[in-house]
């Protein structure tokens, strides 16, 4: 479904631990939303010097006021600092829902959802969707420290189990989410992994899933400027079904990819064997070029 652009009134602003939560009234976005999708928010007001949009995973949609959308964020730079100062009734210029959603299993299988830091946000609507299909849901949530772990309580409420890790041991197990992931997979007999968070975490989670031979869907958080697929800034090397690596746009070809297709070690480069890389022609000139990204 087509995304929409709207000027959305802020309904509520909350601060939860180190996170801010903003709910906007955005019926068009709420009704189109599928879990894993995100919104692109303009920051700084009408005469802003900031031209690029900020992307946030949709954390929750509700039917109130025709449809509301909630997103959670931490202050990182100028744009999120501005967002943190918004008050209810302010208007936000929002585009959404954007991006490829998490594919949902047809059968009621066991799913483990792995989130690091703000990367946990899109996993909550996913958990609800999976539950509605009768899937078992287990959460593994991590963060640098207790205050950075996202909605652990909510996770306990909706999931069978919720395992928490922190780098400093201030909450749950000391360590990384991928340290405990094998144990959770074992115990929950997981059939599928969904993961969202920083690239190194996704790489590790993918390695774990592959060891278990189970499919993994990852949602990447690559730097984005437009969110709509036109600026070509958010590319990562992704292997297509045809085995050819392409520079895929995380915003429209993703943010959700099949974990084993992302070339984690080559993120931030153009691999020499990518379609159209310098000298590529000599090697791959004969192949089918009609598909651009996996």
């Amino acid at each position: 479904m087509r995304p929409v652009q709207m000027s959305s009134p802020v309904l509520t602003v909350r601060q939860v631990d180190a996170y801010h939560a903003i709910t906007v009234v955005a019926p068009g976005i709420a009704e189109r939303f599928r879990s894993g999708q995100f919104i692109a928010v303009a920051v700084g007001g009408e005469h802003s010097s900031m031209l690029t949009r900020r992307m946030f995973a949709i954390h929750e949609v509700k039917p109130d006021y025709g449809g509301t959308v909630e997103f959670l964020f931490t202050v990182r730079g100028r744009g999120t600092a501005w967002l943190a100062e918004r008050r209810s009734r302010d208007l936000l210029d929002v585009i959404g829902p954007l991006g490829r959603p998490f594919p949902l299993p047809r059968d009621p299988v066991n799913c483990v959802l792995v989130g690091g830091g703000s990367g946990s946000a899109p996993l909550f609507p996913l958990a609800h969707a999976l539950r509605r299909r009768g899937c078992r849901v287990d959460f593994v949530l991590g963060g640098a420290t207790a205050s950075r772990v996202f909605s652990a309580i909510t996770a306990r409420r909706i999931a069978e189990t919720a395992t928490v890790t922190t780098d400093d041991g201030s909450l749950g197990t000391k360590g990384r989410v991928t340290d405990v992931l094998p144990r959770v997979i074992d115990e929950a007999c997981s059939d599928v992994v969904y993961a969202c968070g920083p690239m190194p975490m996704l790489r590790e989670a993918t390695a774990v899933a592959m060891r278990y031979g189970i499919p993994i869907q990852v949602s990447v958080e690559e730097t984005m400027a437009c969110g709509t697929g036109i600026c070509m800034s958010c590319v990562i090397p992704v292997v297509g079904e045809d085995g050819i690596t392409r520079m895929a746009r995380a915003c429209v070809d993703g943010p959700v990819f099949r974990g084993e297709r992302v070339r984690y070690d080559d993120v931030g480069t153009v691999p020499f064997d990518a379609l159209g890389a310098p000298g590529w022609k000599a090697r791959g000139g004969g192949e089918d070029r009609t598909r651009e990204a996996g």
Partner: protein
């Protein structure tokens, strides 16, 4: 009274003067989710190359004050896929397709012009001269007036006679007016300007350039005064040459600025990153500006600032 928005670019007429800027509108499909792309004057494609190109590594874009610094490196599928997939799609949507081309040699530009001339439905060819010339160590064609003129002449000779050929110029060349003149002398039917301005940002945390390419191209409202100055100067020198003005157009009033400086049409580039329906909004705002001012024909504004101003001096600072 509904203002008449039609403009002429040489022998070619556009329903209205608002187009997309090359490389800022994806394949057209991405924007078509937000507005009807047949409603604007034309869709300009990203620069098409002979072979597919993977482009530059990420990070490719950094935000700067009222601007965007980018180094995408012409990522694209190459001419074959473009002709098979992207061009037919644009035409199926009723869009006027201006195809931007970029090559690393005169031969590549010629090949692109030939392929486009064989395809039906190409409204115009825009020759992106900010492309590295492999024969000259990767300096851009535009940096060498003679090389730029050779490209333009070759494309004009190759392209079907009924397809206008416009040369796209960057601002930071030794002598823009001279470059413009040489491109026209070489057969360009008009000029598009400006391409991005060379710039750099440094990430003070990593101490590295903020875009992987090191140098990038600056675009957006930040560069609008630079772009308006370029259009004004070139229009003053060659008032008969149709110009497509761009660089920081975000509103209808911005579009008027370019028209008054001498452009016959305007292109919207990085503003689309902020507002994917910017083209249509700019068009509506332009229409409203005309209504508010009682201007009946948009083309009456073209070059208007030259008619009111005394010859502007060059005093600075």
């Amino acid at each position: 009274m509904i203002p008449d928005l039609r403009v002429r670019l040489g022998e070619w007429e556009l329903d209205n003067p608002v187009m997309t800027a090359a490389g800022c509108a994806g394949s057209g499909r991405e924007l078509a989710r937000f507005f009807d792309i047949s409603r604007i004057g034309a869709v300009v494609t990203k620069s098409v190359t002979v072979e597919p190109r993977a482009g530059m590594p990420a990070p490719r874009i950094a935000e700067t004050p009222s601007g965007v610094l980018s180094a995408v490196g012409l990522q694209g599928p190459g001419i074959d896929v473009f002709l098979q997939r992207d061009l037919p799609w644009l035409l199926s949507r009723g869009a006027r397709a201006v195809v931007s081309v970029a090559g690393s040699s005169v031969d590549e530009y010629v090949l692109l012009a030939r392929r486009l001339s064989e395809a039906p439905g190409v409204t115009m060819i825009e020759v992106n001269l900010s492309s590295p010339d492999l024969a000259r160590g990767g300096r851009h064609f535009a940096e060498d007036t003679a090389a730029a003129a050779r490209v333009v002449a070759a494309v004009r000779e190759t392209a079907r006679a009924d397809i206008p050929v416009f040369a796209k110029l960057p601002p930071d060349v030794a002598d823009l007016v001279e470059l413009a003149g040489e491109c026209v002398a070489a057969g360009a039917d008009g000029l598009a300007m400006i391409n991005t301005v060379r710039g750099m940002a440094i990430d003070v945390d990593t101490r590295r350039p903020a875009v992987a390419g090191g140098m990038g191209g600056l675009s957006g409202p930040a560069i609008r005064p630079i772009a308006v100055a370029c259009v004004y100067r070139v229009h003053a020198a060659f008032p008969e040459v149709p110009l497509i003005g761009m660089g920081g157009v975000r509103t209808g009033a911005d579009a008027m600025e370019f028209l008054m400086a001498g452009a016959s049409a305007v292109a919207v580039g990085s503003a689309l990153f902020h507002d994917p329906s910017a083209c249509l909004r700019v068009l509506r705002e332009l229409e409203q500006e005309l209504l508010d001012r009682g201007v009946e024909r948009v083309d009456s504004l073209i070059g208007a600032a030259h008619r009111t101003a005394g010859a502007p001096g060059t005093a600075v600072g």
